[in-house]
Symmetry: C2
Subunit: 375 residues, 2 copies
């Protein structure tokens, strides 16, 4: 599909053809001015939107198939953080006249693979030429897991004394982003879909990891996978709703510290993290130093891990055992702010830093991500 | 609000503050990972998305307040074409580092004014830095007007013999776009919100209308208003549902000819328009010639009128009288395709041409719109 040679109508037809299984016809899907959705008899409707913009969130050389998967995954992660079940999505695509070969086919196929995996339908969208960057904007629709229409996880329910948990190791995605910036590249299968390996930076990359040992390459592949193909924690979100364990939840899209700060602000609370308890991804542990970074810093501020961060009242903490989540600290009264405690019990302020698109002006020719992890 | 100096969080707070009346708090609105919507007990949910991209759909010099109104209006128009009632919307904003003074404040205030007018809430969104164009992507949620969950207008119900109607005069928006391209500019009130007049092109504009008479300026103001501040036909859409008059409907966003072609394709039908019956806006009649265009051509292909195009079975056509709609032709069997008939009864093929973002490659430094009306 070459958008320059196709009219919008043929482009939409091509997208529908590639997504046949997940794009129902009108009135339930694409082809009318709006899509008509069946509404669940019980429960409520959840809706969220998240956008990926070239040079802000990805680079054009990144694998298009995985970019399609990620565009949907970051939206699914928002539903996961509410404990919702995904139902349908809409997609706006703005495309420049010149695209890499097969870019659009691969993007749409990746999107379709994630949509099938999670049982969601494409029910609408908009396409446009872009005068510059590729823009992929998705709106996701879901429903609450329980019958009660207010059975959702929110940011605002944490209380002083609640335990703070994360659903997995952190810092891998930021490590992957730094590897891409250093010139490392993913190797794909013949169909240019799945990650099969890594190619170390060829020139001017960080000398200490250019080339790399087999162990380094294994870690690098883990980091690239985390960055390029994140898995939304939908099952955990639903389990938190069904078990009524969590008092509050958020997904870690921008960074543990900044997303914890958001949760605390919504809950009018503070938090104290235990530095030794924070789960740092093996890839961040192995590669942060050669990349000139601190692994804990990547775990705290790197962003895009798409794990869930949630709080649990002390009376229910024994139930967390079944959930494969990691205790990292405790909610405090608001006046204490965000603190982090090292192994010797020394406390310091934890600055809420992470992935914030507006915190620094864009520097052309340099990935926005470069400034994220260093702030 | 200057996005360069504010973090994303403060930017979102600013937007929420300016939209206080229309942006409810979580869980129903902004502030959690997703918004929770109350679902109507009866009826169905409608959802649609439409995006405005700088240099494709607007220029940065256009009034930001009206741009905010239009971004919502084009989405409301999609609901109007389904006969739906608007409920809520989500907005993704991608903004370059440098914006005209007060651009964002005015944009958000304009959006809020349209949201209040139509009783819709902002329930979510995403903000990002853009490496180039301003991008405003909106997803609109609505509900069906009737109790039946399938009480919607669709493109697919037209049958041979049905009358074809439009809800108002056409070609004014395209005339407004051509005036802007020729260097005419809107004059705004002191608060930079509402249109108060026009400033003719100063230099190198079309000599025959530069300066212009009072009558020319009146027509130019009508055209700019139609282009910059279109009114979605929500009441008519609901009336069509409630009266069960229409067999099919679509909104004229891209052009009468191309949107009629879409309706006919969905209905597996053809159409014959009566050229003398097509309502041409006074501004197009008055200004097309000095702008070097044919007024009928602007009405047929110019796009962005946001009127409704609908079809009515012959047995119900007497009921149209109450609707202030204009008869323009009749649906035919599919094999006939699209035809247009002049006053003497001579027929010719009507090419489905209009606003299509992908039909021509983008030419930097020239408005994409310039090629729309000429195709």
């Amino acid at each position: 599909v070459n958008p320059r040679r196709l009219g919008e109508r043929r482009l939409i037809d091509q997208i529908k053809a590639r997504l046949r299984e997940v794009a129902p016809p009108p009135p339930r899907g694409i082809g009318d001015d709006a899509a008509l959705l069946g509404v669940p008899r019980a429960g409520g409707l959840l809706v969220s939107t998240d956008c990926l913009i070239e040079s802000q969130h990805f680079q054009r050389h990144e694998p298009a198939y995985l970019l399609g998967r990620k565009a949907l995954a970051v939206n699914l992660s928002d539903l996961a953080a509410m404990g919702g079940r995904p139902v349908a999505f809409l997609m706006t695509l703005a495309l420049p006249a010149a695209l890499p070969p097969r870019f659009l086919d691969l993007l749409v196929d990746g999107l379709g693979s994630s949509a099938r995996e999670h049982g969601v339908s494409l029910v609408g969208g908009d396409t446009s030429m872009s005068p510059g960057p590729i823009v992929i904007s998705i709106t996701i629709l879901g429903r609450t897991s329980g019958r009660r229409s207010d059975a959702v996880l929110q940011r605002s329910g944490a209380r002083a004394g609640d335990g703070i948990y994360v659903s997995g190791a952190l810092g891998a995605s930021a490590t992957g982003r730094l590897l891409l910036q250093a010139g490392w590249r993913p190797r794909l299968d013949a169909r240019r879909r799945h990650l099969r390996g890594v190619s170390p930076a060829r020139a001017r990359g960080n000398a200490t990891i250019a080339g790399g040992t087999m162990a380094t390459r294994t870690r690098a592949l883990e980091a690239l996978r985390a960055h390029l193909d994140p898995a939304p924690r939908l099952e955990l979100g639903r389990a938190l709703i069904e078990s009524r364990i969590a008092s509050a939840a958020i997904d870690i899209s921008d960074g543990l510290s900044i997303d914890l700060d958001r949760l605390c602000e919504a809950s009018r609370a503070g938090a104290r993290l235990m530095s030794p308890a924070i789960p740092i991804a093996d890839s961040a542990r192995a590669l942060a130093a050669p990349l000139g970074r601190d692994p804990l810093h990547l775990a705290l501020h790197g962003g895009e891990d798409y794990e869930l961060l949630f709080t649990v009242p002390a009376s229910r903490e024994r139930l967390v055992a079944g959930l494969d989540a990691i205790f990292i600290g405790r909610i405090t009264p608001a006046a204490r702010g965000l603190l982090i405690c090292d192994a010797r019990g020394r406390q310091r302020r934890l600055p809420p830093r992470g992935f914030d698109h507006f915190a620094a002006p864009l520097r052309p020719g340099r990935a926005a991500g470069a400034s994220r992890a260093t702030r």
